[in-house]
């Protein structure tokens, strides 16, 4: 239908991106050179032949916006122009926009936050044809491995959902003293990310907290309003029997907390989730609802895109040969930190002005697998625990 891509650098890039969405037009505004290049490219690598591409699921979700920030920071540091692909929540749009960029003749160094797992093979094949290098984040089919495809599919990277679910379960169960009834708000039901987080939550409860009873699970599609609506319905159904709420991401938790607040129950219910959105940080800081939020996980979209793009750049510039890397650097798990009201302060630095650029600087110094707070911690295909 429409191709929503943009080719810009500078601080107004996202604003222009929004205008492109608004007009539903193809925006091909001329790329300007990046101005703060900090990296010396190796001999034989001509940055003019390359373009950095970051494909995100949409441009409204805070996580996706953060993905874009990371791509901007790495584009600036490498002095290679950036193109953002806004998939508008559609695999079709994502793939057709990527084809359009590949047709432009430059070779892509690409980060893709896939809309659906099944998009990965199509995108990787296209990038391979164009002589580019791609790193996929979050979703791909388990059996589709970078090792089998070749060097152009540099790596698949993610934070494990199981760990995220376990973090939330521990925090919630501890806050309830190991006894109580909880409800779960997963994301889109068949998404791998949601499934792994739910499995981690359930496994942790089953293994360590027999006194915690899961009343019900209501998928809320990552949508704050659906989270709010399901929470309202569950409040009607269970009343003050609910002691805790776990959501698969902060967006849904924001909605759920509002419903509990409206029902006058926020003071006696505990919440745990994933993502540590700025709004969540504010609520932890202010102690909203009798310190209602008890557990979170920390990872940032800009870190994901920067790691993904830098890994792809290293392959493109010949500084690594993907096929010579060990397996967990091809299918990689990066560290996910459990955040509680006691330790949240140490993560504030990563949301300060200029944090993405600072992270990229350390990333370039330490390499994609050794940069705090998200070093490589494992790899392979994420195994769902039995619960």
């Amino acid at each position: 239908m429409k191709i929503l891509t943009m080719k810009l650098t500078g601080p107004t890039r996202r604003a222009f991106g929004a205008a492109a969405v608004a007009a539903a037009l193809i925006a091909g505004l001329g790329a300007t050179g990046a101005d703060a290049q900090t990296v010396e490219h190796p001999e034989g690598f001509n940055p003019d032949e390359w373009v950095i591409v970051a494909s995100v699921i949409n441009t409204t979700n805070p996580y996706m916006i953060s993905n874009i920030e990371g791509a901007e920071a790495i584009s600036e540091a490498l002095g290679i122009p950036l193109e953002i692909v806004n998939s508008n929540n559609s695999s079709q749009t994502s793939i057709s926009s990527i084809y359009a960029i590949l047709a432009s003749g430059k070779k892509p160094i690409m980060f893709v936050n896939t809309v659906a797992s099944s998009d990965a093979p199509t995108i990787v094949e296209a990038v391979k044809q164009a002589g580019g290098y791609v790193t996929i984040w979050w979703n791909k089919p388990d059996e589709y491995k970078p090792q089998d495809v070749g060097d152009n599919f540099v790596a698949f990277q993610k934070h494990t959902g199981v760990d995220s679910g376990r973090c939330g379960a521990q925090a919630l169960a501890e806050a309830l003293g190991g006894e109580g009834d909880v409800i779960l708000l997963p994301g889109v039901q068949d998404s791998t990310t949601s499934k792994t987080r739910v499995a981690g939550f359930r496994a942790e409860i089953a293994e360590n907290y027999p006194g915690i009873n899961i009343l019900e699970e209501r998928p809320s599609n990552w949508d704050p309003q659906l989270g709010a609506r399901n929470a309202r319905d569950l409040i009607v159904k269970y009343g003050d029997q609910i002691d805790g709420v776990w959501s698969a991401d902060d967006g849904m938790q924001i909605g759920a907390m509002q419903s509990f607040e409206n029902a006058g129950l926020l003071d006696r219910v505990k919440f745990a989730s994933d993502g540590l959105y700025p709004k969540t940080l504010e609520d932890i800081k202010s102690g909203r609802g009798n310190n209602a939020i008890v557990g979170e996980t920390f990872h940032r979209g800009y870190m994901a895109s920067a790691i993904g793009l830098y890994t792809a750049y290293l392959a493109a510039s010949g500084q690594i040969v993907p096929s010579e890397l060990e397996d967990n650097k091809r299918e990689s798990f990066f560290k996910l930190s459990c955040v509680t009201p006691e330790n949240y302060e140490q993560y504030l630095q990563y949301d300060e002005e200029g944090a993405p650029a600072e992270f990229v600087e350390r990333l370039i110094a330490n390499g994609p697998w050794d940069t705090e707070p998200v070093p490589l911690v494992g790899g392979g295909v994420e195994v769902l625990p039995e619960s």
Partner: protein, 346 residues
């Protein structure tokens, strides 16, 4: 257009000559005659769900359902006016995003230090109405199908919302009074619902007592005849979209208040509640049929169906499928009384 008017249906081109001296009785008669099937379907659902979980029939759940009904109810009033004239307005989600984001950034919030009070409402509503006007003018004057124009407006609205949102954090309401207002109760019912009920009344009055309302129905029935009879067809068309835009803006503000935070996606999913609701209520997409009350009942049916399935504890794996199946049965029940007529469905 695509449908043949039936004898007890709302007044069309012929009826428009009657002026607005009808009684309140007639105002509601329009709604009461049509939706026997719809009411029956609703009653059956309510009985079954109450049987499955007694809490379904509680006052608390009534308040909950009415709270959830309020946003789509406001939207369906505008959508019904547009659909009655045989057009469609796809822009509501974009308009909601633009107006909701404008409103929250001008009201006490965590992002901007601005509080314009009532002006925030006014500016957001005017923005919504302007977007509606834009759709209406392009549609009426340039004769571009409303489907395409309003699709464009959807993205323009979304674009405005994204620009306002920028790279910054989610704005949240800091005023307790505003955040609590939608759930506050008057006479046992939430304020959000009272607001929606007022809008519905406003829609009924427009639909039944104004030249605009009767004109829209006439356009839906037969636009060339409406034009030949000297009706200002373009003005009515633009008016309908402007009202729909205004109500989209109001719905955006209310949804933002309900969530307590601004979101560019605040309207997400509403289009597929509002348009099916109007159609289930008997507002034919071809125009010239249907009414406000019926559309409102359609909204209530969809919301109750979702709420009831959660309360009944239907496994999430089956919820979508069960929702669809029950909806199909409900639609059959709604359409049953009409099936024998010379009705053309496309």
């Amino acid at each position: 257009m695509t449908s043949v008017m039936h004898e007890d249906g709302p007044r069309g081109a012929a009826g428009m000559k009657r002026n607005g001296s009808a009684s309140m009785r007639r105002l509601f008669a329009e709604g009461a005659k049509g939706p026997i099937g719809l009411l029956a379907a609703l009653v059956v659902l309510i009985v079954v769900f109450s049987f499955l979980n007694p809490r379904f029939a509680s006052i608390e759940n009534l308040q909950n359902v009415l709270f959830q009904v309020s946003v789509p109810l406001i939207l369906v009033v505008g959508a019904t006016l547009v659909i009655q004239m045989g057009s469609i307005d796809l822009s509501i989600e974009g308009i909601m995003g633009a107006a909701g984001m404008t409103w929250i950034l001008l009201s006490p919030n965590t992002r901007t230090m601005i509080d314009l009070g009532l002006w925030a409402w006014l500016i957001a509503l005017v923005l919504g109405m302007s977007l509606g006007l834009m759709t209406g003018v392009i549609y009426a004057k340039l004769k571009v199908p409303s489907f395409v124009v309003s699709l464009g407006t959807w993205y323009v609205g979304l674009g405005i919302a994204i620009l306002l949102y920028g790279n910054n954090s989610l704005p949240s309401l800091t005023s307790e009074a505003l955040a609590r207002w939608p759930t506050g109760l008057t006479l046992g019912l939430p304020h959000a619902f009272w607001l929606a009920a007022l809008v519905l009344l406003f829609g009924l009055l427009i639909s039944n007592y104004t030249n605009l309302g009767r004109g829209l129905m006439a356009i839906g029935n037969n636009e060339p005849i409406a034009r030949m009879s000297g009706m200002p067809v373009n003005v009515y068309k633009i008016g309908a979209f402007a009202i729909a835009g205004l109500l989209g803006g109001l719905a955006g503000i209310l949804a933002t208040m309900q969530l307590g935070s601004g979101s560019t996606d605040i309207g997400f999913g509403q289009l597929f509640v509002v348009i099916p609701a109007a159609v289930i209520g008997g507002t034919a997409l071809g125009g010239g049929e249907g009414g406000m009350i019926r559309s409102a009942l359609g909204v209530v049916l969809l919301i109750i169906l979702n709420n009831g399935l959660v309360l009944a504890g239907v496994d999430p794996d089956y919820q979508s499928g069960v929702f669809g199946l029950i909806l199909l049965f409900a639609i059959i029940a709604v359409a049953w009384p009409e099936r024998g007529r010379l009705k053309v469905a496309k």
